[in-house]
């Protein structure tokens, strides 16, 4: 059960950082959704806000970790000029070329949208804190931004998983 250094970093990027972000999204969205006066008690607001602040900042941090490890550690191995690199192998076969020309080209850019939006969400939640419940319009806007961040990360994650299946980084 041996993994090379490159495989290990690919796992850290995608299956650790990336997966944490995508899986934590559900909890974060539920937390924002339920922050409505009719649904929570006074104590509930305090408890949920604390969790929401921590959760959104952890998610923003994880999103940054995902794109930084992806771009600056894994991506150079992917795009290496050698014929054995993942990119070279994909482009060498017309049946797999689109995994790079569309899949990776989309993934490598759209992923960076997630941490910028996630950080804005974390800031908005933190700034108003327990008083966020008084700003229902902002709460909805934060949810929308949160969903867009998730969608961007989701696209990157899906294509990353498939590309690594078709042309693993070794």
């Amino acid at each position: 059960m041996h993994l090379t250094d490159r495989e290990t970093w690919t796992v850290i990027h995608g299956m650790v950082f990336g997966a944490i972000f995508l899986l934590a999204f559900g909890g974060g969205l539920a937390g924002l959704y339920s922050l409505r006066p009719g649904l929570v008690t006074e104590q509930g607001i305090v408890e949920r806000t604390r969790r929401l602040i921590l959760g959104t900042w952890v998610m923003a941090g994880v999103a940054w970790a995902t794109v930084i490890t992806g771009t600056w550690i894994v991506y150079p191995w992917y795009r290496d000029a050698a014929v054995t690199s993942a990119k070279s192998r994909l482009l060498a076969n017309p049946d797999t070329a689109r995994w790079h020309t569309f899949g990776m080209e989309w993934k490598e850019h759209v992923a960076w949208i997630a941490p910028m939006l996630a950080t804005a969400v974390a800031f908005g939640v933190t700034y108003y804190g327990r008083n966020l419940i008084k700003h229902q319009g902002l709460r909805k806007a934060l949810m929308v931004m949160f969903v867009v961040a998730f969608a961007a990360a989701g696209v990157a994650g899906i294509f990353g998983a498939f590309i690594n299946k078709v042309a693993p980084i070794k």
Partner: protein
């Protein structure tokens, strides 16, 4: 999207939970965070499409060879995001701005950024 404080009278939104005694904070800092995120996304998209349109421009974004032009795109996009956030925060931190206008501007910038980073779109600008 209205941000009118219609729910403040609910018991759970005041005593113990939300702080009814504390004056409401200006929306400016949140507006700055939102718009700055939009700026960052838009700049990323713009650089992506421009790099596709011009190999010379793409080469100029090659800040670090193993990463290629993506290094410059991401560094400049993040820099634009941070600079915009600082500038807007300083400018708006004590001001009330229209949430609707902020959401609209942010949505527009993010939508453009998403479009400009979509391969089927930016491929249209690739040289023949």
């Amino acid at each position: 999207m209205s941000d009118v404080n219609v729910e403040a009278s609910h018991p759970a939104a005041t005593a113990g939970g939300a702080d009814a005694t504390e004056p409401d904070k200006p929306f400016g800092p949140v507006a700055a965070a939102f718009i700055a995120a939009g700026v960052g996304v838009f700049v990323l998209g713009l650089l992506t499409t421009l790099a596709e349109a011009s190999k010379g421009f793409a080469d100029s974004l090659n800040f670090r060879d193993p990463v290629g032009p993506l290094s410059g795109k991401t560094i400049l996009a993040v820099a634009a995001w941070l600079v915009a956030w600082v500038v807007l925060h300083v400018a708006l931190r004590r001001r009330e701005v229209s949430p609707r206008a902020v959401y609209l501007v942010t949505a527009l910038l993010v939508a453009l950024g998403l479009l400009l980073t979509f391969p089927t779109f930016f491929d249209q600008f690739a040289p023949e």
